[in-house]
C-alpha cells in the first residue's frame, strides 16, 4: 500500500515512527528536514499522487487544537478540532481535501502527546464544562489506525479526562482497536453515510455502505455511542427515493438507544477549492451539477438546498428524536430551526 515513506530527521528515531516504518519493509524510506518540503511545493498534481500516495512522518509544532468552524457541532457549546493526520486513504470525489492540499500524501504527526496536551488545555480553559473535540476533519479518524495506533492512545487519555468529548468521524471498518477497551461514554464513533449508489459512484476505495452499517451495528452492540453523518447530501433527480431508502436501512440496523446524534449537511465547498477540484476532474458530472456561488462557497441553490434538507429532516424525524438531529450549513440550520418552531417540538441543536 505504501511505496514511499518520508520521515522528518527530527522523528527518525521516534518509537512510533520506527514502528510505522517497520510495517512497510519494502517502502523506500527518505529523510527530510520538514514535511512541508515534500507536502507543499506548488508543482504537484493531487490526482496523479492519489495513484500512489506516500506516508510522511512528521512532528507537529504550534497549535494542535483549533476552534471548530462556526456552525460545526453536535450539541456542545465548546467545539474544537484536531488533525493528527492530513489527507485520507479514500478518494471521495466530493471531498474538499483534494481542493485544499496540493499533495495527496498522508502526513502523520507522530508526537501525539502534543495533541493530548492541547486538548487538556482546552478542558482546563472551560472549567466544569464538557468540551467537544472533532477528529476526522482533515482525515478519516480510523482508516489508518492499524498503522498509527493514534486512537488507541487517545482512548486511554479520554478515560482519564471524562469532560473531553470526542467525535471520531470515519468511513472505515477498522474498529478492532476500539474493542480492546470498554466503551467510553465520552466518545462518539460517527459514520459518514450516503446512499449505496452514490457511495459506489463517488466514494472510491472506501468500504461499501453495507460494510459501514455492519460496523455501526457491531459498535452499537458492544455499547459504543454512534453518530450518523449524512453529509454531504448530494442532489440528484431520485434523491428522495435514495435517501428515504438509506434512512430506512440505517435505522433498521442501528438501535435507537446507541445513536448519539445525526447530522445533515448539503454539499458545499469553498470556491477556491471547488475551482481546484474541477481542474483536476473536469470530466466529473458531480461538479457540473446545479451549483451556485454564495458567500465564497459553492453550494446548491437556496431553493434546492432548502428542499433537500427539509425532505431529509422530515424523513429523519420519522426515525429519531428531533433533539438528536443537527445540521451543518447556516441556511439549513435556519430552516431546521424554523421547522421545529412551527412544529412546536423540542428545539433543534444548531451545530
Amino acid at each position: 500500500m505504501i511505496d514511499t515513506i518520508y520521515v522528518e530527521n527530527a522523528v527518525v528515531c521516534h518509537e512510533r515512527a520506527v514502528n510505522m516504518i517497520k510495517r512497510f519493509p519494502d517502502a523506500a524510506c527518505v529523510t527530510c528536514d520538514r514535511y512541508q518540503e515534500v507536502f507543499n511545493p506548488k508543482a504537484q498534481n493531487f490526482r496523479l499522487q492519489k495513484k500512489k500516495p506516500a506516508l510522511i512522518l512528521a512532528k507537529k509544532f504550534g497549535a494542535t487544537v483549533l476552534p471548530a468552524p462556526k456552525g460545526y457541532g453536535i450539541g456542545g457549546e465548546h467545539n474544537y478540532y484536531f488533525s493528527h493526520m492530513l489527507n485520507c486513504i479514500y478518494d471521495c470525489r466530493y471531498c474538499f481535501l483534494q481542493g485544499m492540499y496540493r499533495s495527496a500524501h498522508y502526513v502523520v504527526f507522530v508526537n501525539y502527546e502534543r495533541f493530548f496536551e492541547g486538548m487538556a488545555e482546552k478542558v482546563k480553559t472551560h472549567a466544569g464544562e464538557d468540551v467537544w473535540f472533532f477528529s476526522g476533519y482533515d482525515c478519516d479518524s480510523l482508516a489508518l489506525e492499524p498503522v498509527t495506533g493514534f486512537v488507541r492512545e487517545l482512548l486511554a487519555w479520554l478515560r482519564r479526562h471524562p469532560r473531553a468529548q470526542v467525535e471520531l468521524r470515519t468511513k472505515s471498518t477498522q474498529i478492532r482497536s476500539l474493542f480492546e477497551t470498554a466503551p467510553l461514554s465520552n466518545v462518539v464513533i460517527a459514520y459518514s453515510l450516503t446512499p449505496a449508489q452514490t457511495a459506489a459512484t463517488f466514494e472510491h476505495k472506501a468500504p461499501s455502505v453495507e460494510k459501514r452499517l455492519a460496523a455501526l451495528a457491531e459498535l452499537a452492540e458492544r455499547g459504543w455511542n454512534v453518530g450518523l453523518r449524512f453529509d454531504p447530501v448530494l442532489y440528484e433527480l431520485r434523491y428522495q427515493d435514495l435517501y428515504q431508502r438509506l434512512f430506512e436501512d440505517v435505522f433498521d440496523r442501528v438501535p435507537q438507544n446507541s445513536i448519539h446524534s445525526v447530522t445533515l449537511g448539503p454539499f458545499r465547498m469553498p470556491k477556491s477549492y471547488f475551482r481546484n477540484v474541477t481542474r483536476l476532474y473536469p470530466d466529473e458530472a458531480l461538479f457540473a451539477g446545479p451549483f451556485e456561488s454564495r458567500d465564497k462557497m459553492i453550494s446548491y441553490s437556496k431553493d434546492c438546498e432548502q428542499q433537500m434538507m427539509s425532505f431529509c429532516h422530515d424523513q429523519l424525524l420519522r426515525h429519531t428524536a428531533a433533539d438528536k438531529i443537527f445540521t451543518c450549513s447556516p441556511l439549513s440550520r435556519d430552516l431546521a430551526a424554523n421547522r421545529v418552531d412551527r412544529n412546536d417540538s423540542v428545539g433543534i441543536h444548531n451545530g
Binding site: 500500500m1 511505496d3 514511499t4 518520508y6 523506500a28 527518505v30 529523510t31 527530510c32 528536514d33 518540503e37 515534500v38 511545493p41 508543482a43 504537484q44 498534481n45 490526482r47 496523479l48 499522487q49 495513484k51 500512489k52 506516500a54 486513504i89 479514500y90 478518494d91 499533495s103 500524501h105 482508516a143 489508518l144 492499524p146 498503522v147 472505515s172 446512499p195 449505496a196 449508489q197 452514490t198 459506489a200 459512484t201 463517488f202 476505495k205 472506501a206 461499501s208 453495507e210 460494510k211 442532489y235 440528484e236 433527480l237 431520485r238 435514495l242 481542474r279 483536476l280 476532474y281 473536469p282 470530466d283 466529473e284 458530472a285 458531480l286 461538479f287 457540473a288 451539477g289 446545479p290
Partner: protein, 284 residues
C-alpha cells in the same frame, strides 16, 4: 510529449538507437533528437548546462506544460553495484544544500535512492547516496515546465568507491544499453501519466462553432467554455447550435445554454451492481 535529458553523447547513443530518434535540424545550442512525441536533448556535463538544456528543449518543442521529463545518466554510488539502475527519491544540490522530492507514482519496480548533485566528480562517496552532476539543475527547471510527478531522474550506477572514474565512451554506452528495458518502461509510464494530465488540462474545443457565429467578449468566452463543458459532461453530447434568430447575440446564446443545462435531469449515481459491497477497498 515525453522529454529525455542526458548529459553525454555516450549516454544518448543507445537511447537514440533504440528509440529511433533523429537529430532535429537546424541544430540549436544543444543537440536535440526526436521521434514523434519523444524528444531528447544532450546537455553536456553539469547542473547549469542541464537546466539550460531543459529550457532549450521546452522552447524547441511544443512549449506545453505538464509533459513528461526524464533525466537519464550515469552516477556513482557508495554501495549500489555498478550496472544497477535506480530512480532518485530525493535530489540534493550539494552546493546549496537544497533538496527536492520527486513524487513516486510509477509502477516500475526500480531501486530508489537519494541522489546528490555535485559540481565536481565525487571520489569519497560520503553518504549512502548516488552522486551525479546534473539532476538538481534538471529538476528545478523541469518542475517549472511540468507537475513534479512527471519529472523523474533515472540513474545507472557507473562507479563505486575505489572504481576508475575515467570511463571510455563505449563503456558508458554499454551501461545505458544494458538498462534500456528499464528506461523504456519508465518512459512509457511517464508518457501514459502525462496523457492523463494532458486530457484534463486541454479540454476539447467545443466553442469554435459558436465563436464563428456570434461575437463573445473575453469573459463571455470563458462562460461559454464553462457552460459547454458542463453540458458535455452532463449529457454526453452538445445540443445543435441555436439559430441566429433564436439568439441574437452572445448574451442570448449564454442564456440559451443555461436554460438547456438547467433542463437536464441530474442523474449522478450508477445503479448498484451485485459486487458493489466487494469493490476495490483501500487497505491500511
Amino acid at each position: 510529449m515525453t522529454n529525455l535529458v542526458v548529459a553525454l553523447q555516450a549516454e544518448a547513443r543507445p537511447i537514440i538507437e533504440t528509440l529511433d530518434l533523429v537529430q532535429d535540424r537546424p541544430a540549436g545550442i544543444f543537440p536535440v533528437y526526436c521521434n514523434g512525441d519523444l524528444s531528447l536533448v544532450v546537455s553536456g556535463i553539469g547542473r547549469i548546462h542541464c537546466a539550460a538544456a531543459v529550457t532549450h528543449l521546452f522552447h524547441r518543442t511544443a512549449q506545453r506544460v505538464d509533459q513528461a521529463w526524464l533525466n537519464i545518466g550515469i552516477a556513482g554510488h557508495q554501495q549500489v553495484p555498478i550496472g544497477s539502475v535506480l530512480l532518485a527519491s530525493r535530489i540534493t544540490e550539494h552546493a546549496s544544500g537544497r533538496s527536492w522530492y520527486p513524487p513516486y507514482v510509477l509502477d516500475v519496480k526500480l531501486l530508489r535512492s537519494p541522489l546528490v548533485t555535485v559540481d565536481k566528480p565525487e571520489r569519497c562517496y560520503p553518504d549512502c547516496c548516488a552522486y551525479d552532476m546534473e539532476a538538481a539543475g534538471f529538476y528545478q527547471i523541469a518542475c517549472r515546465c511540468s507537475t513534479a510527478e512527471l519529472v523523474q531522474s533515472l540513474k545507472i550506477i557507473s562507479d563505486n568507491p575505489g572504481s576508475d572514474l575515467d570511463l571510455a565512451v563505449d563503456e558508458i554506452s554499454l551501461l545505458i544499453a544494458d538498462q534500456m528495458s528499464a528506461i523504456e518502461s519508465a518512459v512509457r509510464q511517464l508518457s501514459d501519466l502525462s496523457h492523463v494530465v494532458d486530457t484534463v488540462r486541454v479540454p476539447p474545443d467545443l466553442s469554435s462553432l459558436y465563436l464563428e457565429q456570434w461575437h463573445f467578449t473575453v469573459s463571455q468566452r470563458h462562460r461559454l467554455a464553462t457552460l459547454l463543458g458542463r453540458l458535455k459532461v452532463r449529457s454526453g453530447q452538445l445540443p445543435n447550435l441555436p439559430g441566429t434568430s433564436e439568439c441574437q447575440d452572445a448574451r442570448g446564446v449564454l442564456r440559451w445554454l443555461e436554460s438547456k443545462l438547467s433542463a437536464l435531469p441530474v442523474n449522478l449515481s450508477v445503479p448498484q451492481g451485485k459486487d458493489a459491497a466487494d469493490r476495490d477497498e483501500q487497505q491500511s
